[in-house]
Amino acid sequence: MFTLRSRIAVLALICLFAPAAGAQNAGAGLEVGRKMLLEDNPGELWIDRGKRIFHEKRGPKKASLEQCDFGMGPGNLKGATARLPRYFADTDKVEDLDSRIVTCMVTLQGSDREQVKKSAIGRPLTDGSDIEAIAMYVASHSNGMKMDVRLDHPKEREMYKAGEYLFFRRSGQTDFGCVTCHGQPDKRIRLQDLVNMLDKKQIQAVAGSWPAYRGAHGISRTMQWRLYDCFWQMRLPELAYLSDVSIALSTYLNYQGNGAVVKVPGFKR
């Protein structure tokens, strides 16, 4: 006998990146709704929320995140996320948007890194996490700019190559790798269009759309969540927040998406 939960679980899907609203191949039946949701996107409310949290004095050091350096110098947010992930000398690491927010919460505000990571991905249908809101606020400063991830530093190139390798790496109960669903044109998991990440145009259609408001969760989500969810659907172990695999895949995918115009919040079903 199926419980209600399992019956609904039946309907859950394997999907890595839902395409941006208005992306190619969407049936006309879906298109109207996607357009309406994207036009008036509740994710906008997360920009405001993130702004409040970003400028608030918080943590043991009672400091705001205003001096956080996202790669364009302390306090300069403009265009910063369009360049992420990138290498940061102070941590000697390649960091993505989430990672850099966590770094600043630790260094500037004195927060405990593990504690911050624990609550970084908010539960669906709650207020979500502070990081999810901050990420949306920071990313909104890159709106209209082109994705421009660079591979100048050896560690960036190492991450990129590892990300590429991981994209094609198949394992687990389903024999899936990212490429299984995202390596061919015009494919769908149930009704969800699948972005062909090996096609420049298609990946550009989504590369600038994160963070995004996730309708089913009622909160803003970042790429960290998106990748976590992929591995969950692939029946693989849980991808750790800010793990090297997550950064490597983001580096690979965002670099492939270079040239995409940033437009956040995105809206994902």
Binding site: R5, I8, L11, G29, L30, L191, Q192, R269
Partner: protein, 154 residues
């Protein structure tokens, strides 16, 4: 993040049982309760909800346009816009006929405001979405089917 997945999945159940609390009289009267159409919002049948609006007979009208997706990817967020070109439109109501409590919203529109309202509703299953327009004291209606595919991608 524990059990987050389960909680999303429970949403479907929440939609299905939508409004049971209202029926049980659990909803405290808010400040707007005077205007809030309690019998209408607590009706389990679309016909009863429509009656609560004061409509005994309705005319199908082509001057009412419902903009909504043919297929909703997520029943929790179904965008619905209703445009009434009927002169002197006084109110627009939106019903999802197969929701446990069909009446989702009523918009009272003052003269000088367009007969238009756009909103998003939760739908438990595939259903006709009905717009009921009151204009010049008379009632008009139009409907459109919206297919709901619960869940979808991750």
């Amino acid at each position: 993040m524990n059990r987050s997945r389960r909680r999303v999945l429970e949403l479907g159940g929440g939609v299905a049982a939508l409004g049971a609390a209202a029926a049980a009289g659990l909803i405290p009267a808010g400040a707007a309760a005077a205007a809030w159409n309690k019998p209408g919002f607590e009706s389990k049948a679309a016909a009863d909800a429509i009656k609560s609006l004061g409509a005994s007979g309705m005319t199908e009208s082509r001057d009412i346009a419902i903009t909504a997706p043919d297929i909703a990817e997520n029943g929790a967020v179904v965008p619905i816009a209703v445009t009434s070109r009927i002169p002197n439109t006084e109110s627009i109501s939106i019903l999802a006929e197969k929701n446990p409590f069909p009446l989702a919203a009523t918009f009272d529109i003052a003269p000088g405001t367009e007969g238009y309202a756009s909103v998003r509703i939760k739908m438990g299953q595939t259903s006709h979405v009905r717009a009921v327009v009151k204009a010049g004291g008379k009632f008009y209606t139009a409907s459109k089917e919206v297919k709901v595919t619960v869940g979808g991608c991750g």
